[in-house]
Each structure stands twice: as structure tokens, then as C-alpha cells.
């Protein structure tokens, strides 16, 4: 049972229930944000090139991102409600899963592009939607999972949401700027993609590393 006394403060930055140094958690969630925006820009570009940059394709891609993040958020929230669930471990698995999907994503998109050559707009749109929905669902689940984990420890919703939303959104912003000004020009789509993949894998492995060191999720 975590009590309000364990609130994260400057004097007590790493309460034992957190399972990971607070700064490490924030850094990992920043990296997760960077990779998410790299994926968004890469996938958006690749899909529009493969399926066409007409208004229908743009609509499908934008809707798929929003739908995936929304459903992912609900899923993450539902999981976080269950007692005894190791939230940090699930977060690590989600990050690694995003990385694995990312690694095969461009190949998958090209396969889908060839597969839908003779298909109508509806079938093509549906397939595009599914391709984006899977990883964005995983991405959307990360914030509720970590918020639940931190609130279990700190009992302060505003602080937990603000800090996690801050680091993740900051990471997303940095990711968009790095993609626009460095990575996409220097590494192209696939090079940037593998960079994003390695960030997800690093994030997941770091969480697993801290768990192995002995700190576990609160139950």
C-alpha cells in the first residue's frame, strides 16, 4: 500500500515504489516521445507516397493516428486499473513491441501497397488504417500506464500528468525538429526509421534493466 507520504518531491526524488530513478523514467519517456514523432513523420510520408497524397489518403492516415492513440489510451487505462499488474513491465513490453513493429513497418507498407494495386479506395483505406492502428494503439497506451504507475506512488495526479505529459511531449517536439532538420535529410526514411526503432528498444531494455536491479512495480 502506497501512502501519501511517498509523494515525489525534491527531497525525495526516487521513492522506492517507483521502481526506477525518476530521472531515468523521464528520460526514457522523452526518448519514447522522440521515436513516436519520428514514426509519425516517416509513416505519414511513406504511406502518402505508396497510396497517394490525395485528400482521402491524408484523411485515413490522420484518422488512423488519432483512433489508435485514443483506443490505446483507453486500453492502457483499463490495464492500469487492475490490481497487481506490473505497469512498468507492461510499459517496457509496449516499447519493445513498438520497436519490433517499426522495424518491419516499411516492408509491411510496401507489401500492402502491392497487395492493394487493384483494390478500391475503401479496401486500401481500411488496410492503411489497420497498418497504423496497431502501433499507435501501443503508443497511446503508454501515458495512462505511466501516469497510473506514478500516481500509485505520488498520489498527485496533476504533478504526474504534467511531468509525464511534459517529458513525452517535449520528446515528441524534439523528435519532429530532429526529423525535419537532420534525420530525414541525412538518413532518409529507412535510416530514420531504424533510429526510432533503436530508441524504443533502448527504452524497453532500460526499464527491464532497472527491474532486474531489484526494484519492482508497486502492487
Amino acid at each position: 500500500m502506497i501512502t501519501p507520504e511517498t509523494t515525489i518531491t525534491a527531497q525525495n526524488p526516487d521513492p522506492p515504489g517507483l521502481g526506477i530513478p525518476r530521472r531515468a523514467l523521464f528520460l526514457i519517456f522523452t526518448l519514447s516521445g522522440i521515436s513516436a514523432l519520428l514514426y509519425q513523420l516517416i509513416w505519414q510520408r511513406a504511406l502518402l507516397t505508396i497510396f497517394g497524397s490525395n485528400i482521402e489518403s491524408v484523411t485515413v492516415v490522420v484518422s488512423a493516428f488519432m483512433l489508435g492513440l485514443g483506443i490505446g489510451s483507453i486500453t492502457g487505462g483499463a490495464v492500469s486499473k487492475r490490481h497487481g499488474v506490473p505497469l512498468l513491465l507492461i510499459f517496457a513490453i509496449v516499447e519493445i513491441s513498438i520497436g519490433i513493429y517499426g522495424a518491419v513497418s516499411l516492408h509491411l507498407f510496401h507489401w500492402a501497397g502491392n497487395f492493394t494495386t487493384d483494390s478500391g479506395t475503401f479496401q486500401t483505406g481500411l488496410l492503411t488504417l489497420m497498418l497504423i492502428l496497431i502501433p499507435t494503439l501501443l503508443m497511446g497506451s503508454t501515458l495512462p500506464l505511466l501516469v497510473a504507475h506514478c500516481v500509485n506512488v505520488s498520489r498527485n495526479v496533476g504533478h504526474s500528468v504534467s511531468m509525464l505529459y511534459f517529458v513525452n511531449t517535449l520528446g515528441a517536439g524534439i523528435g519532429a525538429l530532429l526529423a525535419a532538420f537532420i534525420f530525414l535529410g541525412m538518413l532518409g526514411l529507412s535510416g530514420s526509421l531504424y533510429l526510432a526503432v533503436s530508441l524504443n528498444l533502448f527504452a524497453g531494455i532500460m526499464i527491464l534493466h532497472f527491474r532486474r536491479k531489484g526494484a519492482h512495480d508497486p502492487v
Partner: protein, 532 residues
């Protein structure tokens, strides 16, 4: 769910809608001011997200750790929403006025576009104000218990639904029906109504509530009254920058979901803030317009032609009047050209009723992919500048291979490389024979053969509305015609002015620029991003 949580859900949905709608407007703003550079979207989005993040951090100052449900949080929130929306409304006019201090964007250097990024702190500030709202609402509505994650997920979902609706409704419906000014006013009013609603819900009463509502109403009135002068001439300022003349207005400004098309008083077309063509079919020696006319110099009978990129319709009009051409399929992604630009101009409007011409609104690549059996004697793409967003999609190896598969034997692919050595290199890798005509690449799956006599006869047969392009009974016209076709005599001359250039494959291959260039692919994105 209690009423506090439901109110919070409504709030996050509406703030999500407003935030993403502003983002859509700002994407349009920065795409236009940077002449559709690919990195503009990432730069704007990155700044916007960093602003949101900082706003979220800033919101901590307004949170009471002991009592999240204290109505004072809502009062702070009402002020945030009011300020954020007023700031959001002002971004576009302020950036447009700052733009006139930016040196005019030379298409060669792009310097002006980079300097446009100096205005991005305005976006960060507005986004920071918008970004502070979500954590404040969460702090107000979510109790710190073991259901916090789940409740957060509902609010987060509400915010995403609002954001998604904002993105789709504003991007695809409002942008098609309303101007940027009207959308900005609409969003500002939505924000003000939201702010007033929060103030009422926060249990402010009596004189304090009246004062807050009066302040909000005054802000609304100010926005309504100042919008017309603030937004007047925004596209002229954003496009012309330091060369903007206070009295100058474009002949036509079309805002649609596809983007912004402007046409100046000289009938020059600008798509997304950069030169995109000219309306007029006149031909004289030394004119850039020789390029579409040149088709008959290299093809004996181009009966079926595919045009990728209709734009203002000039090239399609020229090709439709080629006496050898029997059928043209013209693909254009932006319906505004055929619906609102072409019908206005006598020089091109007949293509809309020409039985030879079929206009298709689609993405060029998608159309080719979905019509694998269609073959053409010529494919013509007067593509946009090679550094613009999505330009590499029409210059990449993959696209050229797609075009090659749609050419009949001896078919011609003529495309505008706009001075890109990499585009030339790509064509050299894909097609057996290539040539450089001015700044266009002529490519074919067979050796290119030039026929000056055939071309002269074809040009002499050209007529627009019964009037010959060159009156061969008139000596001056005959001289003009001869001067035009004499460009073929320049074949193989390396050192020559760009507008008279006709380089063979050998010259093109051995040009130092082409030799060291890397081919454009779908993966490396050509010239679109920095560090290319």
C-alpha cells in the same frame, strides 16, 4: 462518472478541437511562408509540441497538491483558455506582418524561408498556453486513487477525439468552405465561449463573474472588429515578403483544403507561395514555353498523352492543340485549378470542354499504379521545384520506373527537373536515352531522334481559336518560327545559355554536377530535407 468529470471530459474535447484546429491553420501558414518546404511541417509541429510541453510544465505552478477539486483551478483555466485563444488568433496576422521584414525568398537560396522560422517562438507561446489546459483539467477532475490511470485515459481519449475532429473538420471541411480569417475568428470565438463557460462553472458569482464575462465579451468584440484589417493582404505579405507593396493585391486567391493558390496581375500562378506556372500559350524564341511545344521535335505522332500536374492548364492547352495529339489524360491533385482557376482565363478555359482532354482529380502516382495497362506516347510532368514538399515523389527512381512502364515503344517522358542534377542523374539511370532541354529532361525508352522539319510543320499547323500560332504568310512570323526551331541546332553544344540549351545524353552524363549527384529515391527523399 460525476458531473465534475463529465465537465472535464467536455472541456478536454473542446480544447483538443481548438488546439488541433489552430495547428492545422499554422501548418498552412508555415507551409505558405516557406514556399512548401518539407521541413516546415516538422519545424512547426516540433515547436508546437515543445510549446505544449512547456505549457504543461508551467501549469504545475497553478496546481494545488492538496486539493485538486478547488474551483480556483477552473478560474485559472478560464484565464488560460481566454489568453491562449486570443494569442492563437493573433499568430497568423502577426507572422504575416513580420514576413515583410524577411528578404524576398529567392528560389535559389531559400534564405527567406529559413528566416521565416524566426517567427516560430510565437507558435511556441500560443501552444504553451493551450498546453497548460490539459494537466489543469486533469488535476481538477481526477482523484489521486488507483483509478487515476483509467480516468486519465478517458480524458486523454476525449482530448484525442477533439483533436482528431479538429484535424479532420478544420483540415478538410472548414478549409474548403472558409478563409483562414474566418476560421481564425471561429476558433477564437469557440475559445471565448469555452472560457466563459468555465468561469460560470467555477462558481464565480456576482460582480466577479460579471466582470469576467464582460472582459470575455470585449475580447470577442475586439476580435470581430480587428479581423478584417488584420487579415487583409496576408497572402500577399507572406508570399512577397520584403517586396510587398501595401497597395498590391493578387488577381486571385483561392483557399481550399488542397492549399492556397494565388495568381498575380501578370497571370503568374503561385501554388503554396511559390511560382507554379504561367497562363498563356504564346511562343517565341528564347521562351521557356518552348518545352511543351518541343514534343513534336522528338516524336512523330504523339497520339495519346498523359499530363501529370494540370496546374493552370497552359501545358495541357498547348498539347491539346498539337495536331498529332488525339487524347490527353490530365491528372491534378488540386481540384481548385480545374474548378476555379482555369474557368477564369480565356487562354486555357477551352480545355474544360475539349473532347480530347480528360481531367482526373487524383494523385499522379496513385493513378499510374491503379492503371497499369494504360500506355502513352508521351508523359509530361511540368513538376514543381525539386526542393518542395513531396517533389521527390515525382522525381524518384521508383516513380520514373513507373512512368517508363506506361510508355509505348519510342515514347517520351518530358519532365521539369528545375535544375536538379540529382533528378537528371535519376533519369539517366532509368532511361536508355536522355537529353536536357532548357531545365527539362527528355527521356525515352528508345534513342531520341530530333526532326527539325517535322517540328516546323507541326508548329506551323498550330491554331488557337482559328488563329495560327505562326502565320506562315507573314514574313515576321516565319522568322519567329525559324528562330524557335533553331534550338535543335544547339544539340550537343555544352556552353550555351540555359534558355537555348539542348544537351545530349553524353554532355549530361559528363557534366560535373550530374557526375557527382546521387539519384533520388523514395527513401532518400531527394532535395526535400536538409543534409541531402
Amino acid at each position: 462518472m460525476n458531473s465534475r468529470f463529465l465537465a472535464a471530459l467536455l472541456l478536454v474535447t473542446l480544447t483538443g478541437f481548438i488546439s488541433l484546429s489552430y495547428e492545422i491553420c499554422w501548418v498552412r501558414l508555415y507551409s505558405f511562408i516557406t514556399a512548401s518546404r518539407a521541413w516546415a511541417f516538422g519545424a512547426m509541429l516540433g515547436t508546437y509540441l515543445i510549446g505544449l510541453a512547456l505549457g504543461s510544465l508551467w501549469s504545475l505552478r497553478f496546481q494545488d497538491a492538496e486539493n485538486g477539486s478547488n474551483p480556483k483551478h477552473l478560474r485559472a483555466l478560464a484565464l488560460f483558455v481566454l489568453t491562449a485563444n486570443t494569442a492563437g488568433f493573433l499568430v497568423i496576422p502577426i507572422v504575416s506582418w513580420l514576413a515583410i521584414f524577411i528578404p524576398y525568398d529567392s528560389v535559389k537560396t531559400g534564405q527567406g524561408s529559413v528566416m521565416a522560422l524566426a517567427t516560430l517562438p510565437l507558435i511556441a507561446l500560443s501552444a504553451a498556453l493551450l498546453g497548460a489546459t490539459l494537466p489543469l483539467i486533469c488535476h481538477f477532475a481526477i482523484s489521486p486513487d488507483d483509478k487515476a490511470g483509467a480516468r486519465l485515459s478517458y480524458l486523454y481519449l476525449g482530448n484525442i477525439i477533439g483533436a482528431g475532429t479538429g484535424s479532420l473538420l478544420t483540415g478538410f471541411v472548414l478549409m474548403d468552405q472558409l478563409s483562414l480569417q474566418q476560421i481564425s475568428v471561429f476558433l477564437a470565438f469557440l475559445g471565448l465561449i469555452l472560457s466563459a463557460g468555465i468561469a460560470i462553472y467555477s462558481k464565480l458569482r456576482g460582480a466577479r463573474l460579471a466582470k469576467r464575462l464582460a472582459f470575455t465579451a470585449t475580447a470577442g468584440l475586439a476580435i470581430l472588429l480587428t479581423a478584417p484589417p488584420l487579415f487583409d493582404g496576408i497572402f500577399e505579405r507572406l508570399q512577397l515578403k520584403s517586396t510587398y507593396n501595401h497597395n498590391e493585391r493578387f488577381d486571385l486567391v483561392i483557399e481550399s483544403r488542397f492549399g492556397v493558390v494565388t495568381i498575380d496581375q501578370d497571370h503568374k500562378i503561385y501554388g503554396g507561395g511559390i511560382y507554379d506556372g504561367y497562363i498563356g500559350t504564346e511562343l517565341e524564341a528564347g521562351s521557356w514555353m518552348v518545352r511543351p511545344y518541343f514534343l513534336s521535335a522528338v516524336h512523330p505522332a504523339p497520339r495519346e498523352v498523359l499530363v501529370i500536374g494540370l496546374s493552370g492548364g497552359t501545358w495541357t492547352q498547348i498539347l491539346a492543340h498539337n495536331p498529332h495529339v488525339e487524347k490527353i489524360t490530365a491528372i491534378e491533385i488540386n481540384a481548385a485549378y480545374s474548378e476555379r482557376v482555369i474557368p477564369r482565363y480565356d487562354a486555357v478555359k477551352s480545355i474544360l470542354t475539349d473532347a480530347k482532354v480528360k481531367i482526373v482529380i487524383d494523385d499522379g502516382r496513385r493513378w499510374l499504379r491503379n492503371h497499369p495497362d494504360r500506355k502513352f506516347d508521351a508523359v509530361i510532368a511540368n513538376a514543381t521545384y525539386h526542393w518542395r514538399e513531396h517533389a521527390s515523389s515525382l522525381l524518384s527512381r521508383e516513380f520514373m520506373q513507373q512512368v517508363k512502364a506506361h510508355l509505348n515503344p519510342g515514347g517520351i517522358y518530358l519532365f521539369n527537373a528545375t535544375g536538379s542534377d540529382r533528378a537528371a542523374k535519376t533519369a539517366l539511370e532509368v532511361f536508355p536515352d536522355c537529353a536536357l532541354l532548357l531545365n527539362n529532361i527528355l527521356a525515352s525508352n528508345a534513342p531520341l531522334a530530333y526532326d527539325k522539319d517535322r517540328w516546323r510543320k507541326t508548329l506551323a499547323a498550330y491554331q488557337y481559336g482559328g488563329k495560327p500560332l505562326f502565320d506562315t504568310n507573314n514574313e515576321k512570323d516565319r522568322e519567329s518560327l525559324e528562330a524557335v526551331v533553331s534550338i535543335i541546332d544547339n544539340l550537343g553544344i555544352r556552353e550555351i545559355a540555359t534558355k537555348e540549351r539542348l544537351w545530349t545524353k553524353e554532355i549530361l552524363e559528363n557534366d560535373p554536377g550530374t557526375r557527382k549527384a546521387r539519384a533520388i529515391t523514395d527513401d532518400n527523399l531527394g532535395h526535400e530535407f536538409w543534409y541531402h
